[in-house]
C-alpha cells in the first residue's frame, strides 16, 4: 500500500479498532487514538518532506478503479502536488493535536474518538483525492461526526442550534457544490470525475461560456459556504463556539480548507470564463470577510466567537488571493490555508484549555491569568500574535504574499485586507490578550493550573509548525508555485477575451 493511502486509512482503521474495544477500556481507546493519529501525523510529515518540489504532476499517486459502469468511470485516485501536500501535513498534525487536547473527555470517549478519527481520515481523504466524487465523499464524511460531537460534547446553551446550523449550512453548501460538480461532470461528455482526466479534456475542449457562467457560481458559493464566505458565514463562529475543542480545531483548521482547496483545484482551472465573470464578485465578497467579520470579532465577549470570527476574517485573505488570479496571490492563498490550518486549531486549543481551567471563555470574567499560567500565557501570546499577522509565524508569510499578489489587480481590496489584517486583527487579538492574561489577578481564578509537560505537546507542535513555515515559507512556496502557475495558466486561458459575459444567460 502506498503511503498516501495509508495516511488516509490509518485514522479510519484506528476508528474501526476502537469500535472493537469495549467502551470501558478508556485507556486503550485513548492509546489507540493517540497512536493512530500520531502515526498519521508522522507519515504525513514524512510525505511532506519526501515530496520533491521541482517535479511536474502528482506524486505518491495511486489509482484503484472503483466504478466503471456504462459511461461512468470513477476511481479511487489519490496523489499529492503542491496544492495539497501542505494541507495533508497540517491535517496530520492538527489531527494529532486534536486527539491530544481531548484529554478531558470523560463522557463516552469511545464514540468521541471514533468520530474524531473519522473526521481526520475524511479530511485527509478529501485533500488527497484526485477524483472529485471521492473528494466530496471524504469531505462529507466529517458532517455527522461534527454534528454529534457538537451535540454530545459541545458547550453552551446554544449547542443544539449551532449543531443544526453548521450541519445544514455545510450540507447546503456541499450540495450546491455537488450540483456544480455534477454539471461539470455531465457537461464534459466523458463523464468522469477524475481531475487529471477532466483537465486534459477541458484543455482540449473547454465548456461553453454560458455553461461556465452557471457552473462557476455553483462551485463558488457551494464551496464558499464551506469556507464561510460572506454572507454565508454565520454558521462558523457559532458552530465553533459550541463545538468541543477537538471538533472546533479540526473543523476550523482543516475542514474549512476543503472548500478553498476545491475552488483552486476545480473551479479556477476548469472554468476560466466562469472565473473571469465571477471573480470580481468574489473580490467584493471577500471584503465582507475581511472587514465585516473583523468588525464582528471586535466586539465579541466570548473568546470562541472572537476566534471564530477572526478565522473568518482570515479566510478573506484566502479568497482575496483566489480573486487576484495571480501566481503570487494563489501561492499566498495556499500558504494562508496551511498557516490558518495551524493557527485556528491552536487558538481553539488554547481557548479549550482556558475553559477547562477557568470554566469560562467570557472575556469580561477573565483576567490576570499570566501570573499563574506563564507557559499557557506565553503560548497564547504567540498564538494570538500569529493571528494578527506577526512575522515569524506562517500567517504573515501567507497574508503578505496574498497582499503582494493581489495588489496589482485589486488595490482597494488590498487596502481593506491590510486594514483588516494589520489593524482589526491586532485590535481584537490584543483585546483578548489584555482581558485574559493581563491586568490584576482575579480572586475567582486562582485555582487555575498551568500546562503540564505533556499537555504542552499539542501546542508546541502547532506553534513549531507555524514557526517553521513562518521562518521558511519557501518550504511551502517552492511546492506551491508550480501548481499556482498551472492554475493561473489554465484559469486565464479563456475563450472570451474579457468580461463580456456580464449578463447571466439562461441555459
Amino acid at each position: 500500500m502506498d503511503s498516501l493511502s495509508f495516511v488516509i486509512l490509518l485514522p479510519l482503521l484506528s476508528a474501526l479498532l476502537i469500535l472493537l474495544v469495549p467502551g470501558n477500556y478508556r485507556v486503550i481507546v485513548r492509546a489507540i487514538a493517540v497512536l493512530g493519529s500520531g502515526l498519521t501525523a508522522w507519515i504525513a510529515a514524512s510525505l511532506f518532506f519526501r515530496f520533491q518540489p521541482g517535479h511536474e504532476g502528482f506524486q505518491f499517486e495511486s489509482i484503484l478503479p472503483w466504478i466503471s459502469v456504462g459511461k461512468l468511470s470513477l476511481a479511487y485516485h489519490v496523489g499529492a502536488d503542491g496544492l495539497n501536500i501542505g494541507l495533508i501535513l497540517v491535517t496530520g498534525l492538527v489531527g494529532f493535536a486534536s486527539v491530544l487536547v481531548s484529554w478531558n473527555i470523560d463522557r463516552n470517549p469511545k464514540l468521541f474518538y471514533i468520530l474524531l478519527l473519522l473526521m481526520i481520515g475524511g479530511a485527509l481523504g478529501a485533500f488527497a483525492s484526485l477524483d472529485l466524487l471521492f473528494f466530496y465523499f471524504f469531505n462529507e464524511l466529517a458532517l455527522v461526526p461534527t454534528f454529534i460531537l457538537i451535540g454530545v460534547w459541545g458547550r453552551g446553551e446554544n449547542k443544539t442550534v449551532a449543531a443544526f446550523k453548521i450541519s445544514l449550512y455545510l450540507t447546503l453548501g456541499a450540495l450546491i457544490a455537488l450540483a456544480g460538480l455534477l454539471l461539470l461532470h455531465v457537461s464534459t461528455g466523458a463523464q468522469t470525475f477524475d481531475v487529471i482526466a477532466l483537465k486534459t479534456l477541458l484543455a482540449g475542449k473547454p465548456l461553453s461560456v454560458t455553461l461556465q457562467n452557471w457552473i462557476f457560481p455553483l462551485l463558488l458559493f457551494g464551496f464558499g459556504t464551506l469556507v464561510g464566505l460572506f454572507p454565508f458565514h454565520s454558521w462558523a463562529a457559532e458552530g465553533y463556539a459550541a463545538a468541543p475543542t477537538a471538533a472546533a480545531m479540526m473543523h476550523s483548521g482543516i475542514l474549512k480548507k476543503a472548500g478553498l482547496y476545491a475552488l483552486l483545484r476545480v473551479a479556477l482551472p476548469f472554468l476560466p470564463d466562469g472565473a473571469a465573470h465571477w471573480l470580481p464578485v468574489l473580490a467584493w465578497l471577500c471584503l465582507g470577510n475581511l472587514l465585516h467579520c473583523g468588525w464582528v470579532a471586535l466586539c465579541q465577549k466570548d473568546l470562541n466567537l472572537l476566534i471564530g470570527n477572526s478565522s473568518l476574517a482570515h479566510m478573506g485573505f484566502a479568497f482575496l488571493g483566489i480573486a487576484s488570479l495571480s501566481v503570487i496571490g494563489i501561492t499566498g492563498t495556499v500558504i494562508v490555508m496551511v498557516a490558518h490550518a495551524l493557527l485556528a486549531p491552536l487558538c481553539f486549543a488554547l481557548s479549550g484549555y482556558l475553559e477547562s481551567q477557568s470554566g469560562t471563555v467570557d472575556l469580561t470574567r477573565l483576567g490576570g491569568l499570566l501570573r499563574r499560567m506563564p507557559v499557557f500565557g506565553t503560548l497564547m501570546v504567540m498564538g494570538f500574535m500569529a493571528g494578527c499577522g506577526l512575522p515569524g509565524f506562517a500567517n504573515f508569510a501567507g497574508e503578505a504574499t496574498v497582499l503582494f499578489g493581489s495588489w496589482k489587480s485589486l488595490p482597494w481590496i488590498v487596502v481593506a485586507a491590510s486594514w483588516s489584517g494589520l489593524i482589526l486583527g491586532a485590535v481584537y487579538m490584543l483585546r483578548a490578550l489584555r482581558s485574559i492574561l493581563y491586568g490584576e489577578e482575579r480572586k475567582e481564578l486562582t485555582a487555575v493550573i498551568d500546562l503540564g509537560w505533556w499537555r504542552r505537546l499539542p501546542f508546541a507542535l502547532l506553534i513549531a509548525a507555524l514557526l517553521l513555515f513562518g521562518l521558511a515559507p519557501s518550504l511551502l512556496s517552492r511546492r506551491i508555485e508550480p501548481v499556482a502557475k498551472e492554475i493561473v495558466k489554465a484559469a486565464t486561458n479563456r475563450s472570451t477575451p474579457s468580461r463580456v459575459a456580464a449578463v447571466v444567460v439562461t441555459p
Binding site: 454565520s234 467579520c293 499570566l370 500574535m385 512575522p391 493581563y438
Partner: protein, 649 residues
C-alpha cells in the same frame, strides 16, 4: 539572481558575512535559549543575555573597524522565492548600518548591565532579559535588512518586543493598556508602510533596496505618479515607530514599562528605527515627485517636504507638552518625541540636499545622551522608591552625585550646549534647515529654546532645592551596576560628536564628499555661524528662562501664568481624547453595526427567517393530513384532476 548583480565585491566578503550573521543571531539565540532552557535561573539568564548582546557589540566593533566605510550585501537565503516576488533574508552592510549596529548594541549592552541592578527585585528577571535580547535581535534585523519585506518583518518584531516590554508588568492595568496602545498605534503606521511597500514593489518590481535604488537611479521617474503617495505611505511606518504626529500618542504611555526599556527602546533605538528606515530608503525621496490625479494640486511638493513639516510639527508640539509635564519619565518621553521630530524634519529637509546624514548624526548622539538621561531618571526613580513626580523630589544633587553629574551632561547635550555632542548634531540640522527652509529653521530654534527650558526645569526642580517628600529625603546613590553604565554613557554623550560621523555617514550617500577631520570641533562656527549661534543662543535663553522661574521654586508657577494653555499642554493637547472619540469609537460603532447585521440580518432575518418559514410551512402543510379518510379521498380525486391537467399540453 538579480541582487547578485549589485552585490559589492568585498575581499573579505565571506568573513564579513559570517560576522554580520553572528551579530544578528547572537541575541536571538540567547533569547530563545533563556525562554526554553533557563526560564527560572536569574543569574544564568542575565549572564547569557548580556553576554549575547556584548558579543554582538564586540563583533559590531570588529566589523566597524575591519570593514570601515565599505558596503556589502551578504549572500541571502531565500525566504519566499516566488517569481516576481523574490523575498530573501539578506544583510546589507554599509557605514550607516555599521554605525547603527554599534549604537544599538552599545546602548543595549549598557542598558542591560544597568538592568542587573534596576530589575534586581523583579520575579520575571529572566523574561526581562530574554525580551530585551529579542528586541536587540529585531532591531539589528532592521538595521541589517537588505529589502523591504525583511525590514517590515523585523519592524513588526520590534513592535512585538516593544509590546512585551511595555507590558512587562502585565498585572498593572496601565502597563497592559499602554502596551496595547503602543502596538496598535504602531500597527496603523505599519498599515501604511505595508501599502507603501506594495506600491514600491509594483512600480519597481523588486523589494531589494540595492536593486530598487539602482533602478531608480537609472530612471528617477520610475515611481511615476505614485512617488508621493508611496513615499508618504512608507513614511507612515516611520510615523508609527518614531511616534510622529499624529501617531505620537503611544510613546508617553510607553513609559509604563521598566525604565531601562524606556531608555533602550523608547529613547535610543526603536524609536530611531523610523529615522533609520527613512535613511535606508532615502532613494525614494530623492526620486522625482509625482502625485496621482486627485492630488495633482500638490504639484512639485515632494513627499520629503511634507515629511519635514510633520517632523517640525511633532517637534514643536512635543516640546510644548513637555514643558508642562511633571513626571520625570514623561518629560523625557516628550523630549524624545520632540527630538525625533527634529530628526524627521532633518530627513525631509535632507532630501533636497540628497543627504540625510544630519538626521542620522543626531540620531546617534541622541541615542547616547537620551539613554543616559533615561537611565539617570531610572536611577532617581529607583532611589526615590518609584516616585516619578519631579515636584516630590528635590535636593538630589548631593545624595546622588554621579547620577546628578551624568544627568547634567545629558541635559547639556540635549539642550545643545557646546561642546556636548547634541550641539553638533543639532547644529547640522539647523544648518540644513537654514539652507533649505528658513521657517523650519525658526521652528527648530524655538524647539531648542523649549528643550533647554524644560530640561533645565527638570534638573532645577529635581536635583536642586530641598527635598519635597519623604522618599526624596531618603534617597541615596544607586548600586554600581546602575552607576557605571551612566558613567560609560556619559563619555559618548559628551564626545561622540567629535568623531567625524556626519561626513562618514554621508559617504554612503555621496562617496565623493570629502571628510574634514580637523573641522569637527569648531566646525559649526566656521561652517555656518548663523545656525551655530542661534543654536547656542537658544540654549542659553531657555536655560535663563527656566532659571528665573524654577530656581528654588516650591511649585510650578507656569499654570497660573499661562492659564488655559498650560492645561492644554499638560493634557497633551487632548490627542488621546480626540482619538478615543474618533478612531476607537468609530471602530466600535462599525463593530457593533457589523455584529448587529450578523445577529439580526444574517442570522436572524435570513437564516432564522428561512428556517422559520420552512418550519412553518411544514407545520402548515401537515395540517392537510387531517386523518380523515374522506379528505384523503378528496385529495386523491383532486390529485387525479391535477395529474390530468398537468399531462395536458
Amino acid at each position: 539572481m538579480e541582487h547578485a548583480a549589485v552585490l559589492h565585491a568585498v575581499e573579505s566578503g565571506s568573513k564579513i558575512q559570517d560576522l554580520a550573521w553572528m551579530i544578528l543571531v547572537a541575541p536571538l539565540v540567547m533569547a530563545v535559549g533563556t525562554t526554553l532552557f533557563v526560564p527560572r535561573d536569574r543569574t544564568l539568564a542575565a549572564v547569557f543575555n548580556i553576554g549575547g548582546v556584548i558579543l554582538s557589540f564586540c563583533l559590531s566593533f570588529v566589523l566597524f573597524c575591519v570593514f570601515g566605510g565599505g558596503s556589502a550585501q551578504c549572500t541571502p537565503f531565500e525566504w519566499l522565492p516566488i517569481a516576481g516576488l523574490d523575498v530573501h533574508i539578506g544583510l546589507h552592510i554599509d557605514p550607516l548600518a555599521s554605525l547603527m549596529l554599534l549604537v544599538v548594541t552599545g546602548v543595549a549592552s549598557l542598558v542591560m548591565i544597568y538592568s542587573i541592578g534596576y530589575m534586581h527585585d523583579d520575579r520575571s528577571y529572566p523574561r526581562f532579559f530574554a525580551s530585551l535580547s529579542l528586541f536587540v535581535f529585531s532591531m539589528l534585523g532592521i538595521v541589517l535588512a537588505d529589502n523591504f519585506v525583511m525590514l517590515f518583518i523585523f519592524w513588526e518584531l520590534v513592535g512585538i518586543s516593544s509590546y512585551l516590554l511595555i507590558g512587562f508588568w502585565y498585572d498593572r492595568p496601565a502597563a497592559a493598556d499602554a502596551s496595547k496602545k503602543a502596538f496598535l498605534t504602531n500597527r496603523i503606521g505599519d498599515f501604511g508602510f505595508m501599502l507603501g511597500i506594495l506600491m514600491v514593489w509594483s512600480a519597481l518590481g523588486t523589494v531589494d533596496f540595492a536593486v530598487a535604488k539602482a533602478k531608480l537611479a537609472e530612471n528617477p521617474a520610475l515611481l511615476g505618479s505614485m512617488a508621493g503617495i508611496a513615499g508618504l505611505l512608507i513614511f507612515m511606518g516611520a510615523m508609527g515607530k518614531s511616534a510622529q504626529f499624529p501617531l505620537h500618542v503611544w510613546l508617553p504611555d510607553a513609559m509604563e514599562g521598566p525604565t531601562p526599556v524606556s531608555a533602550l527602546i523608547h529613547a535610543a533605538t526603536m524609536v530611531a528605527a523610523g529615522i533609520y528606515m527613512l535613511c535606508r530608503v532615502f532613494f525614494l525621496y530623492t526620486a522625482a515627485p509625482g502625485w496621482p490625479g486627485p492630488l495633482s494640486m500638490l504639484g512639485d511638493l515632494s513627499a520629503a517636504t511634507l515629511i519635514s513639516l510633520v517632523g517640525a510639527v511633532t517637534a514643536l508640539l512635543a516640546a510644548l507638552i513637555a514643558v508642562q509635564q511633571n513626571d520625570i519619565k514623561r518629560i523625557l518621553a516628550f523630549s524624545t518625541l520632540s527630538q525625533l521630530g527634529l530628526m524627521v524634519m532633518a530627513v525631509g529637509l535632507g532630501a533636497k540636499a540628497a543627504n540625510p546624514s544630519a538626521a542620522m548624526f543626531h540620531l546617534v548622539t541622541h541615542a547616547f545622551f537620551k539613554a543616559m538621561l533615561f537611565l539617570g531618571a531610572g536611577s532617581v526613580i529607583h532611589a526615590c522608591h518609584h516616585e516619578q513626580d519631579i515636584w516630590k523630589m528635590g535636593g538630589l544633587k548631593a545624595k546622588m552625585p554621579i547620577t546628578f553629574w551624568t544627568f547634567l551632561i545629558g541635559t547639556a547635550a540635549l539642550a545643545g550646549l557646546p561642546p556636548f555632542s547634541g550641539f553638533y548634531s543639532k547644529d547640522e540640522i539647523f544648518a540644513l534647515a537654514l539652507e533649505t527652509n528658513p521657517i523650519l529653521f525658526g521652528v527648530g530654534v524655538l524647539v531648542s529654546v523649549l528643550t533647554t527650558f524644560y530640561m533645565s526645569r527638570l534638573v532645577l526642580v529635581a536635583f536642586f532645592g530641598a527635598a519635597r517628600s519623604e522618599s526624596a529625603d531618603h534617597a541615596h546613590e544607586s548600586p554600581g551596576s546602575m552607576k557605571w553604565p551612566l558613567v560609560v554613557l556619559a563619555i559618548p554623550s559628551l564626545m561622540v560628536a567629535w568623531l567625524p560621523l556626519g561626513p562618514f555617514l554621508s559617504e554612503s550617500f555621496d562617496p565623493a564628499h570629502p571628510v574634514h577631520l580637523g573641522d569637527i570641533f569648531f566646525g559649526p562656527f566656521n561652517h555656518n555661524p548663523i545656525a551655530a549661534f542661534f543654536g547656542f543662543g537658544a540654549a542659553l535663553f531657555g536655560f535663563s528662562l527656566a532659571y528665573s522661574l524654577y530656581w528654588k521654586a516650591a511649585k510650578d508657577p507656569l499654570p497660573t501664568q499661562l492659564g488655559l494653555l498650560s492645561k492644554v499642554m499638560r493634557n497633551r493637547f487632548y490627542f488621546d481624547e480626540i482619538y478615543e472619540t474618533i478612531f476607537i469609537s468609530l471602530h466600535n460603532l462599525f463593530s457593533h453595526i457589523a455584529d448587529w447585521i450578523d445577529r439580526w440580518v444574517i442570522s436572524g432575518l435570513m437564516v432564522r427567517g428561512v428556517s422559520g418559514l420552512v418550519n412553518l410551512s411544514g407545520r402548515a402543510l401537515r395540517l392537510v393530513q387531517t386523518g380523515n379518510i374522506q379528505s384523503y379521498t378528496f385529495f386523491f380525486t383532486v390529485g387525479v384532476l391535477l395529474v390530468v391537467l398537468l399531462a395536458r399540453k
